[in-house]
Symmetry: C2
């Protein structure tokens, strides 16, 4: 058996590892640094014969299982050495292994050899192993899963990377004809490859030691499938030599589509690019349904072009692929600003702030004040509001910044008043005694003492007169989750009842169901020590996610949950239990493609100020942020997890239900998810496998609930008012 063929780490492209992704480029050669020799080829053939002989012998004896003895010195071509311990070598398990074979002798032999190889790889100090995905896409997958899961238990450090095609086998070439049925049963589609991955990682309980090595061929998947892979732990891209075309000058290049795919996945760190330069002459592959010839998806490079690189050229110059990748990666465009700002925060789960209960630290304020967009929007809104008050004939305008922090909004108020040519009376209210010290310094050194500072909880403030504008920045990632409504209710009594303006005037929470396997894996590993780990929302820079609800144009469906407006009309009707700030929202999201719901992403939008002609807004919704507050970086999204991932089929509907609860002392959220599918009504569809004439005219007329989550509740960890 060919225990392991090694990859050579060639180079890291990154100069500045803080902001630019690191790439590692390697090639698949028969031995580390070695060339192909006739000795090696002969040995590989001999090894295969050795196991083959055991199998044939067992089959002749009529046994259904075989015993494969452990490895011997002649069976392996790697040995423990420093290079291997450094993580520079990547192991590859024997290519003939077929863990999912339906022949019990072959699957039994495969499993034993596979586990021998994992054991030896771990002994040698290998850190990372490439393992071929299942050979068949539907038969005996469970046997494959179980062999992988048992393999993980053999060595506690080894990373197992499952080699799978990025693009599922074509629908055309892999149909299984059911002679009984009027229509053939389609077994594979564009998500078939992802299905297998999803099965493996579910069986392996989202272990972080299982990841993906995606095979990139000439045909590459469409945007939706690329988005799906982006949500998954892709650590290797295996660029097959067949993926390259010759350009006009005769150089090996990748198409624009391939380049875009590599750029997209380059946001995932670390990413290894492997140029697979094996040739059919050297390592004959067993018949493999994954090796089908995909139809070309791109018009840029016509199908004929793939024939351009001659076999001899490829064999003689494996460096061509590596050189091209170096060139490509050196010329990738820089990452977007949010990637640079958020470097290291991708998919990192944080607990939301509780500013009402806690005092913030200066660094937290510092981060907030860095935003290039938010305070400009506030300044615009304040200026508009001041002008409107002036036009109404209001005199001696009083403005209060409630929750002034270190004073950025105070500065903006002064600037807006100056630009509006108005003298205003300015108050800054802050309860944090430490921030208050800084405000006094600012008033002395920057604001010329023109600001009246008050150290108090805004809800207890008794001002000398009514305020005309209250400026606050109390929003959390889900709008009201840091209790902005309750804070502003508490200070509403200081506002002029006739013309008083709150900036923000209103805000809305928004949500959509997402696939987020990395976040789920993270919570799963915390769950044993943290009982309520699924019962709280998290602030997170959502990166490795996929939106599951899309409209017909392929745009994400994000739904508004509820709105709060200030000043609040309903304050007087309150039953003393904060009832008027209770909300609920139900929405039925269409799910075009199957997937797994791991949780709900939350965003907000906010109207800072609006009059008949203008509107100044903030948004964190990925589909509206560019229109409303482009490049704003102050807020990450919020994530409401599901305890149990919910599989959703193609063309289903998922109802997400949200509640904002309050008992007058605390505020918390409840959330649940239900999924409905449309299926044929059995009354009109008497037998699934029957060849009756009605088989091809089955109305999909029944809508059934196929999964419902628990009601999750952050009650125990709710925000104190």
């Amino acid at each position: 058996m060919d225990a392991s063929t090694a990859e050579e780490e060639v180079n890291s492209m990154a100069e500045n590892t803080d902001t630019v992704p690191s790439f590692y480029i390697g090639e698949h050669l028969p031995a580390p640094g070695g060339a192909v020799t006739s000795d090696l080829l002969a040995k590989a053939a001999r090894d295969n014969r050795k196991v083959e002989a055991i199998i044939v012998d067992a089959q002749q004896k009529g046994l259904v299982r075989v015993y494969i003895p452990g490895l011997e010195a002649e069976d392996v071509n790697i040995h423990p050495d420093e290079n291997i311990n450094s993580g520079k070598v990547i192991g590859v398990t024997s290519s003939w292994i077929q863990l999912d074979s339906t022949d019990p002798v072959i699957s039994s032999a495969s499993r034993q050899v596979f586990h021998h190889e994992i054991g030896y790889a771990g002994f040698c100090g290998l850190m990372s192993l490439l393992v071929q995905g299942p050979r068949d896409l539907q038969q005996n997958l469970a046997a494959y899963y179980q062999a992988i899961v048992q393999g993980l238990a053999i060595n506690a450090y080894l990373q197992i990377n499952i080699v799978l095609p990025a693009y599922g086998p074509s629908l055309e070439s892999d149909t299984e004809i059911d002679s009984q049925a009027a229509e053939p049963i389609m077994l594979y589609d564009e998500l078939s490859s992802w299905d297998i991955w999803n099965g493996i990682r579910t069986a392996a309980r989202y272990s972080s030691r299982i990841s993906l090595a995606l095979q990139i061929e000439y045909s590459i998947p469409n945007t939706h499938i690329q988005d799906r892979w982006f949500a998954e732990p892709v650590r290797y891209l295996i660029l097959d030599s067949q993926a390259y075309v010759l350009n006009a000058k005769g150089f090996l290049v990748l198409t624009k589509h391939h380049q875009n795919l590599i750029q997209k996945l380059s946001r995932k760190l670390p990413l290894y690019l492997l140029a697979n330069t094996r040739h059919a002459e050297f390592t004959p592959e067993p018949e493999n349904p994954l090796d089908v010839d995909f139809p070309p998806l791109s018009a840029l490079a016509p199908r004929g072009a793939r024939q351009a690189p001659t076999t001899s050229r490829r064999r003689d110059d494996p460096q061509s692929y590596r050189k091209y990748l170096h060139h490509l990666l050196a010329n990738l465009p820089p990452p977007p600003p949010l990637d640079i700002f958020g470097a290291g925060y991708q998919d990192f789960l944080q607990s939301p702030l509780q500013p009402l209960a806690d005092n913030l630290e200066s660094m937290t304020y510092e981060v907030f004040e860095k935003d290039p967009v938010k305070y400009d929007q506030y300044e615009k809104a304040i200026k508009l509001a001041l002008e409107d008050l002036k036009n109404k004939g209001v005199e001696n305008i009083c403005v209060a910044v409630v929750g002034a922090g270190r004073g950025p909004l105070v500065t903006r108020c002064i600037r807006a008043a100056t630009n509006a040519s108005l003298d205003i009376q300015l108050f800054a209210i802050e309860k944090n005694p430490n921030a208050y010290v800084h405000l006094m310094k600012m008033n002395r050194d920057v604001w010329d003492g023109q600001v009246t500072l008050v150290k108090t909880d805004m809800r207890k403030w008794k001002p000398p007169s009514h305020m005309h504008i209250l400026v606050s920045e109390l929003l959390g990632s889900f709008a009201d989750n840091e209790l902005s409504p309750e804070c502003l209710d508490g200070v509403q009594h200081v506002l002029d009842p006739e013309v008083g303006i709150s900036i923000p005037q209103s805000y809305t929470a928004h949500y959509t169901p997402i696939m987020a396997p990395k976040l789920h894996g993270d919570l799963l590993s915390r769950a044993p020590s943290t009982p309520d780990v699924y019962e709280v929302p998290y602030v997170v820079m959502l990166t490795a996610i996929d939106f599951l609800s899309l409209d017909l144009e392929g745009n994400v469906n994000i739904e508004q949950a509820w709105e709060f407006t200030h000043p609040a009309d309903e304050l007087e009707h309150d039953g003393g239990f904060n009832d008027h700030n209770q909300r609920e929202s139900f929405y039925l999201f269409p799910i075009p493609r199957r997937g797994v719901i791991h949780g709900i992403a939350g965003y907000f939008e906010c109207v800072l100020y609006k009059n008949e002609s203008s509107i100044v807004e903030l948004s964190t919704r990925p589909d509206t942020i560019d229109a409303k507050s482009k490049d704003m970086i102050s807020w990450f999204a919020i994530y409401f997890p599901l305890k149990v991932p919910m599989p959703v089929p193609d063309r289903s509907e998922t109802q997400v239900s949200f509640w904002r609860n309050t008992d007058g002392r605390k505020v918390w959220y409840d959330w649940m998810v239900e999924t409905f599918a449309f299926i044929p009504d059995p009354k009109t569809f008497p037998a699934l496998t029957s060849a009756s004439p009605s088989f091809d005219s089955i109305p999909l007329n029944k809508r059934v609930l196929i999964a419902a989550s628990e009601i999750h509740s952050s009650r125990k960890n709710g925000c104190l008012m």
Copy 2:
């Protein structure tokens, strides 16, 4: 609001509570022990008007939520007293409450009143509350679920019983016409009512404080739906007066179908039968889709018969219903023997024995020896084997009972030899020193000293000569789970290599996926303190379960996992790691009706001895036990739990995968479950809601994986060899 109407506990029918179910019969009257008075009616109307006024006022003001003040003295008709604390009174929440209303004002008012009533019921010491199920079957169910779950949190002792119709609304009367679609969308079917229950208990995390009050009307559900309810925590049957017919003599009676349903559910303890004698004149019900007029299912009582009991008779004689129920229950047939033997063990999860590692206690042997069937079968098998050996001309026949325990098989060997007119040399091998003392006593007092006793582990026994028959009783609930194969391998060397016989000769393990909400709820409550609670199989008398895989005739599909035969041919091929006792099994179970898989039920079959003309077998399979070993009680089933319940849709397929693993020191099982559904291929089905002509001719030609479990493994808790 009508805070609570009470039920009177009338009688317990049971004389002997150990073996006969207890029934409680009650009637729904407006007040405990009270008659309907015009005062009560006036008050109910007044209460409704009070909340109604608040709602109308809110609607006029354009509010979307209302504040309902707490209860006042006039609002309630129960008060804390001794009767209530005794658990004899059952509360009923106000009938107008509509937690799932799509009108936010009504749902808000409903939730508040509902929670007020739960709080007051708890304060008064009520133990059990009847709560009407959702009014609508699909809209706003999440709001209903959340109100129930929040209600559970209000009082920690109250049992909430959801009132639901046993039979889902008819398909005919409750279709929602989608004008866009060529075919109407069918919203309800026979499992609709169960769907709601499943949603509630899932949202409530299988709380044991939520149970069911099933409404029984004139039309009753078919056998499959009755089986489904049998798996659920039904605590009340509400027999509507409409369910009764007049018999030839003019008495109110229930049809045979109703009687059978009551008898079936009578295996669940405790069961309350409530005769609902409310009349439309007294308590007008709001329009309720659950109150539809079901078509009669039974030919026994023609539809016209329901009109027979006159309104005046019912009103004047509510005792008629109660008297009939007394009569019915007093004449129920006695429960089957297994129910009597297993009383108290229904659905009680036990860890399997590890007889190789542990020594059993006398009581455990005592229970095993009670079986009326098992030892008779052994005696038959031994006699057949002795006769066959005699016919082959074998002389000086040596028989060993390995693992003799307290000696029941020794007794049967002596009896079989006597009946076969043979002198045999008999050995009894036992490692348990305490049981050995008992064997010595038996040999002295009962067996006339004719048995050679050996105190040793059977695997270390060195007999004076080869044995011709080895008799053992080492089977567990899943055949090999108490390591019978490993034990018998270890003693195989004493067996005559030519003619040696093992009794049993072979055995097989069998499995099928089941719904078992009670078992899941039990494990869920243990999970926080027991990390591996889902990673071990349990021995259990399966009672509150439903088989999910049925064939076209409605019979359960149980599949054979694997077989062991003795003596084992493969022993010589073993690699020293017990590899020849490794097994795996994969089977695709058809699932005709939707449900939830909570785990896998396991059984065994065993051939004690077989020759050309006769076979002596044991079976615990519910579908073969009567044919092979009727009334055998020695083994309960085995249950392999799933960590996460898996919803399965109508007409799906579930693959169950099983592995019996061994590393030469331990034996353990791995198991996983995957579910596939058949859906239309999107390529031939471009838009779900479109009114395109192709809508009614959608081929169901795609088979997709819709859910996969983790691989569960008992490795950590495996049996030591």
